[in-house]
Symmetry: C2
Subunit: 394 residues, 2 copies
């Protein structure tokens, strides 16, 4: 048997569907087509690495959601989603990566069959998996329908986590701590980077106790020295060297729920500018956590961070965090709330963020971050519990 | 220092650019915007996990390609691409996942500045990373331009591999063999699946000798028992059990070049229908490899496979393979040539395919596959050299 089909309770899925339908009503949508694999999984439990072909979930107001996907993935839907057999609607393999047919032709026919030929149809216009071609094909195939932008409609419903989801994220946090502990401990001059990453994967996947580790939506990022000036370089086969920093941008993952957690190791004696940056960053993180309270805005966290950084002469253009939870590649953020001065979203209990004010100087990168939970009252709770510092090793 | 910036020689990149420009001329394009990270890397060497935000390469007829991306990723471009400083054109972080701004507004302004306000602009309409919203934004921002579908224009230039690329794929093949050997050896009743996958990652990343392993564009897939009826389920924490099959869908990866390689292990005594399927599949694979000759068509491989399978009463709807090479998540195929009866593409020396006729029955899955190289004459060469069979263990 596969791990329980769909990892959450029926009331939890009901809650999600109700929230989604309410948002559909607010936008005047008759039907919503969800291609984002994170939204598909959040609504139905569907879990598989099949998002490299077109697939999706069709949400209506009056019936169970419909899983639509490639024929050979129907068994995967049977084994992971809570949907009944007549809610699985596969398309034939001839539509896959064809130059003459497009899966959206099949989807359009299905939407017509379901009575949505002239409906108000929501689609995720800004999403990795709903391509430009998918959009123009759907437009052509459903000339009587209104195809409307419902980007992140479901993502926004995911922002406040339920108690069941928080349980998953706490498990992910234990895995994240284990990964960071292992990375810090193993970092030493002479160790090849690819071998270090192999150990990080081992910690990630073996997990903690019965809680096995799932794959992260981004691979481990841990560039060293001047490479660490570039936040998104992946590994190579070079050996770690003395007098270099290495930052570890990692996430523990439990059943697709991510808790990112970053720390930096310096082998040798860090330069003064890096130590000054560390002090300002830690002060800024603490100020941000204090500001991360229900009723405050996302911007308040960013602004609290900015004070100590500015006093240290550090200008940081990039946003300093984002909403987190369930995710599939290529991003572990939820792509809704950003921690930045222009984001006025009011913080609510159960919201979860990666507070991620990475600093990338020309010759080093410094990442000390926290994943946090907005609580009923008081400052945010951090998911992980490790010293908030740069780790210096000889 | 990061591993050599851009892994190939200058003449190799010249070759790629010339092929791309010739295809642009054939389609009457003044400029091509490439968002597919595989195409970006193939043209410029750029390598980073930054494709979760909009980025791309602008190819023109008369100047060096331009890397365009998020500001914080510019250092990554400096360190991995062969481009000169004035060919790096970043956009500000305020465009990232914003609800009020879109990066395509910045790209449109750049294209205007480059003189393409009224040009014929090619874009990759069917691609994971060029969203529907990106398309409509570009349309609105460049009303005088013609935005034309150049899906897979670059992908098709990648189909025939150069000798330099074949060297990379042979390295990837050694890593793939090591991964499959390790998986077969370790498979035993009682071992938790996530722990087995941790070992597979270790083999993948440690690589072979100096050839360090890169991350695969798909995570390892290795479902067991009835789960193996679903080709794209990922792992869980359950223990392997006796009287079950497990297939391993893996790829060795050397600097983004993939050689996929699949084998199946049965713990115990395989059922008769599975053994019959194995025999037919191996016969079909061998017939397909014989047919995989320069001058034949992609369809000939699929048709050669179909004979033995049909004689065994096995109907297989899905395509049986695809072009492979350089890739980024979420797919390790090149999304051009498919091995299926309707694909008339003529095979040429240097083309590389994953010949992948997976069989998924209600209670088992059987994957025995080969990655192959079309040679000057004679049947295809397989990249890996391991017994073409199901492995039965007690």
């Amino acid at each position: 048997m596969h791990q329980t089909p769909a990892p959450f309770t029926a009331p939890e899925y009901d809650r999600r569907l109700s929230l989604t339908r309410a948002a559909m009503t607010e936008q005047g949508l008759d039907v919503l087509f969800v291609e984002d694999p994170s939204n598909m999984a959040w609504l139905t439990g569907y879990d598989g690495w099949s998002f490299y072909v077109h697939q999706g979930v069709i949400v209506t107001h009056d019936r169970e959601p419909v899983w639509w996907g490639r024929n050979i993935d129907t068994n995967g839907a049977r084994r992971t989603a809570w949907l009944s057999e007549d809610s699985l609607r596969p398309y034939d393999d001839q539509y896959v990566q064809s130059t003459t047919r497009h899966p959206m032709q099949h989807l359009a026919a299905l939407l017509k069959e379901m009575g949505f030929e002239n409906a108000r149809v929501g689609v995720e216009m800004e999403n990795y998996y709903f391509s430009a071609k998918a959009y123009v094909t759907l437009l052509a195939e459903l000339p009587g329908a209104q195809i409307l932008d419902a980007t992140a409609l479901v993502n926004w419903q995911r922002a406040v986590k339920s108690p069941e989801e928080i349980v998953f994220m706490r498990k992910a946090a234990r895995i994240a701590e284990k990964m960071v502990d292992g990375a810090i401990e193993r970092t030493r001059p002479g160790l090849r980077k690819n071998e270090l990453v192999a150990e990080i994967y081992r910690d990630a996947l073996t997990g903690v106790g019965d809680d096995w580790g799932d794959y992260p939506a981004l691979v481990p990022m841990c560039p060293s020295g001047a490479d660490s000036s570039a936040p998104h370089l992946t590994w190579d086969g070079n050996a770690l060297a003395a007098q270099q920093c290495t930052f570890f941008e990692l996430a523990g993952v439990y059943r697709r729920y991510h808790v990112p957690f970053c720390r930096t190791v310096y082998l040798g004696t860090p330069p003064d500018d890096m130590k000054r940056a560390e002090a300002a960053l830690v002060e800024g993180l603490e100020a941000g956590l204090e500001a991360a309270r229900a009723g405050n805005r996302a911007a308040d966290i960013a602004n609290a961070l900015a004070g100590p950084l500015e006093r240290a002469g550090i200008e940081r253009g990039a946003r300093c965090g984002y909403s987190i939870g369930l995710s599939y590649p290529p991003d572990w953020g939820e792509r809704t709330i950003s921690l930045r001065s222009e984001d006025e979203t009011v913080l609510r209990p159960g919201m979860t963020f990666h507070f991620m004010p990475g600093l990338w100087a020309p010759n080093w990168g410094l990442e000390i971050t926290e994943s946090l939970l907005i609580t009923e009252d008081g400052p945010a709770e951090t998911f992980c519990d490790r010293p908030r510092q740069m780790f210096v090793k000889p």
